[in-house]
């Protein structure tokens, strides 16, 4: 599904993303975690094809047109919430149902640039789901949601992936969200993979950094 | 990209040209109805009907040309486009090939123009008026009873109460400079001397505000009198204050035009010159101002 070999990409004056080998199976939901500046956004952008790596090979079996990518702080377009959602549609998705699921029905005629931070993220998530992508690459999609909303949306995202068989790679700094959604956990530290594995990884990290980082995570 | 821009530019030029061309002719016909009614049948339009006249602001602003030209246009079918600026700029337009003839009042610059080979005619000096010295009515420098303009300027310099100069290399400015020279005074660095770099009207307005002396042509001063309550004519009709206006045709084959696409409407320019020197124009000029200001503003030079 996704196969990375000898990936190298310098992303700041100090750090280089350096991943010798990594593969993600179809249908997996990977939570990308790590401190600021660990290379999460860089990895997502490389997978999305927005950035070119300096070295290495990336193999993705999903055609690019079916890969949806959402940057951190995505842009909402001029017009209403509904208009934005329609911009994201690529087929005959049920817009009313999507609005309902993402708790946007009451807001559908509101101007998108007047939404609060949380509302805005819900809209962007809905817009991604409206695209019916086979691979979703999301950069901090739920960082502004409060705990309860965040939980509902996490479950929504998870259900979407289960129903459609889509693969998900999303970065997050919230342990709860990661655990609600993910089947795999990828911990990055200074551009390197510190840990990669299933739920067991969280309880038994192998690397020094993994141990230190997860101990602060209050799982 | 460059080509595209050039193409766009060209397209737009043509478009706006078309848009304006229609409009101009349209308005012109409605604009001068009095003149066309006053005279006999207009003659057929000449082959090259547009005459480009570059002149000084003083002739145009005082209203003389707007008063004279409709009669000429109605009689001949020519259309005179008057670009008015200071004498310096007007001559600049002519030297650039953008005027067919000049109506100016600066002997020195006219002679230079002829010397540089731009003129198709000699200086056709046909009318004059008087420069006047205006200033505060109480005349702080006491110039009223002095004999010549040079004497007046000396008194103004001595009193040091203030003088506003056009400072724009115009005919009036050149005349002023000549008077300073004959008075043997260089005022340019003096604190009471303001060189404005402006047209006649602006200069008078400024002099009015500052309550200082200024040299002006009489016609412009009279036409503006209502808005100049602080100024009065203190000295006029001295021998050294004559303001002579001349016509000069532009030479179509002047050396400076060689190799360019300049086209001078010599025929039109000659027609206008001939008309301006005619008895009919003379009568109109002699009448000008009598009704509005109660006195003659421009005088004809005896032929």
């Amino acid at each position: 599904m996704i196969r990375i070999e000898n990936l190298k990409k310098r992303y700041s004056s100090d750090f280089t993303l350096d991943i010798p080998a990594l593969s993600i199976a179809p249908g997996e939901r990977v939570a990308l975690i790590g401190p600021n500046g660990s290379g999460k956004s860089t990895l997502l952008r490389i997978l999305a094809g927005v950035l070119k790596p300096e070295e290495g090979k990336i193999g993705i079996s999903v055609p690019e047109k079916d890969t949806g990518y959402q940057p951190q702080n995505p842009y909402v377009f001029r017009g209403t919430v509904e208009k934005n959602l329609r911009l994201g549609m690529r087929g005959d998705e049920d817009i009313a149902a999507l609005l309902e699921e993402c708790e946007l029905t009451a807001l559908k005629d509101k101007r998108a640039d007047r939404l609060s931070g949380g509302e805005r993220q819900r809209l962007c998530l809905a817009r991604m789901l409206a695209g019916n992508y086979k691979l979703l690459l999301l950069d901090e999609p739920l960082s502004a949601a409060d705990i309860e909303t965040g939980e509902r949306l996490s479950l929504l995202l998870k259900r979407y992936c289960e129903n459609t068989g889509a693969t998900l790679v999303m970065s997050t700094h919230l342990p709860v969200q990661a655990q609600q959604i993910a089947t795999k956990y990828l911990i990055l530290y200074k551009g390197q993979v510190a840990e990669y594995g299933d739920a067991a990884t969280l309880s038994a990290p192998e690397s020094e950094f993994g141990k230190r980082f997860l101990s602060q995570w209050k799982l | 990209m460059k080509k595209l821009i050039a193409l766009l530019m060209a397209l737009v030029i043509v478009l706006s040209f078309a848009a304006c061309a229609g409009k101009t002719t349209d308005v012109t016909t409605t604009a001068a109805p009095d003149a066309s009614q006053a005279t006999t049948q207009p003659v057929a339009t000449p082959e090259n009907p547009v005459i480009r006249l570059a002149t000084t602001t003083s002739v145009n602003d005082s209203g003389l040309l707007p008063y004279l030209l409709p009669a000429f246009e109605a009689e001949t079918g020519y259309k005179v486009e008057v670009a008015s600026a200071g004498t310096g700029v007007a001559i600049g337009y002519a030297k650039s090939g953008d005027a067919d003839l000049l109506l100016v009042h600066s002997k020195k610059q006219e002679e230079a123009f002829i010397e540089e080979g731009f003129a198709s005619t000699e200086r056709l000096s046909f009318m004059y008026n008087f420069f006047v010295i205006v200033g505060p009515a109480d005349d702080p420098a006491g110039i009223k009873d002095l004999a010549t303009a040079a004497d007046c300027f000396k008194a103004i310099a001595e009193a040091g109460t203030g003088f506003a100069s056009r400072g724009d290399n115009s005919g009036t400015h050149n005349k002023e400079t000549a008077i300073w020279e004959s008075a043997e005074i260089d005022p340019s660095a003096e604190s009471w001397y303001s060189s404005l770099g402006k047209g006649m009207g602006d200069t008078l307005t400024t002099a009015n505000e500052m309550k200082v002396y200024a040299l002006t042509d009489k016609a412009t001063f009279l036409s503006m009198k209502d808005s100049l309550p602080n100024l009065a004519i203190l000295k006029e009709e001295a021998d050294d204050m004559k303001n002579t206006y001349s016509l000069l045709g532009v030479k179509a084959d002047a050396a400076a035009f060689a190799g360019t696409d300049v086209s001078i409407n010599t025929e039109g320019a000659n027609a206008l010159i001939e008309w301006m020197l005619s008895d009919e124009a003379a009568a109109l000029i002699a009448d000008y101002g009598k009704e509005q200001y109660g006195e003659q503003l421009f005088f004809l030079i005896e032929k």
């Binding site: 079916d66 | 530019m9 486009e81 600026a85």
Partner: protein
Amino acid sequence: MDYLKEAFTLLLHPDAELMQIIGTTLTMSFFSTSISCILGMPLGVLLGKRRFIGRSLLLRIVNTLMGLPPVVAGLIVFMLFRGVGPFGSLHLMFSVPIMVIAQVLLITPVVIGLSAAAAGEKSAMILETARGMRFSGGRQTSLLLRECAPQFVTIALMGFGRSIAEVGAVSLVGGNIQYKTRVMTTAILLESNKGDFRRALALGVILMLISLIANIPAYTLQEKMK
């Protein structure tokens, strides 16, 4: 107050000359603004969104040209298009088209600079988002333009405002010829130079009214766009 009254009297009973002056002014401003926008907006957006070698130098040049004094623009065009100048054969001196050319020289840099600023601010985010949604290149660009549209309206209005209020360039290349190249500003200059301040001010009031009238539909359009 008297001046206002005179302005309205003049506006309600315009003479042929005033009609012509207003017509020429609007024609000139319409063309200079449109051409400046057609040239300047795509260039500005390109300059705002793309990162390429020499971009900052180009931006600096544009920013400098934004402050080009109108008289200097007029002078450049005069030197180029006067009878003996390199483009003298076009015989454009003292015509509305040459006034338009001088104003385009004056306004285009402003349009480029402002468009670059408008697009630059958000183009990176818009493009990355649109790209992530797998929109085609053409659709990405049209989305970018669509997002900048309200600013474009403002920019066009600013261009129009600068054009209609400008006097230095148009008086030099236009020559202020009655019934031909006389526009509102040169007419105001002429009237005030003649000492007829009442008519000058009345013309000024009319000029501002025209600006105001031009602003209303633009403002409505802008509100609608949000």
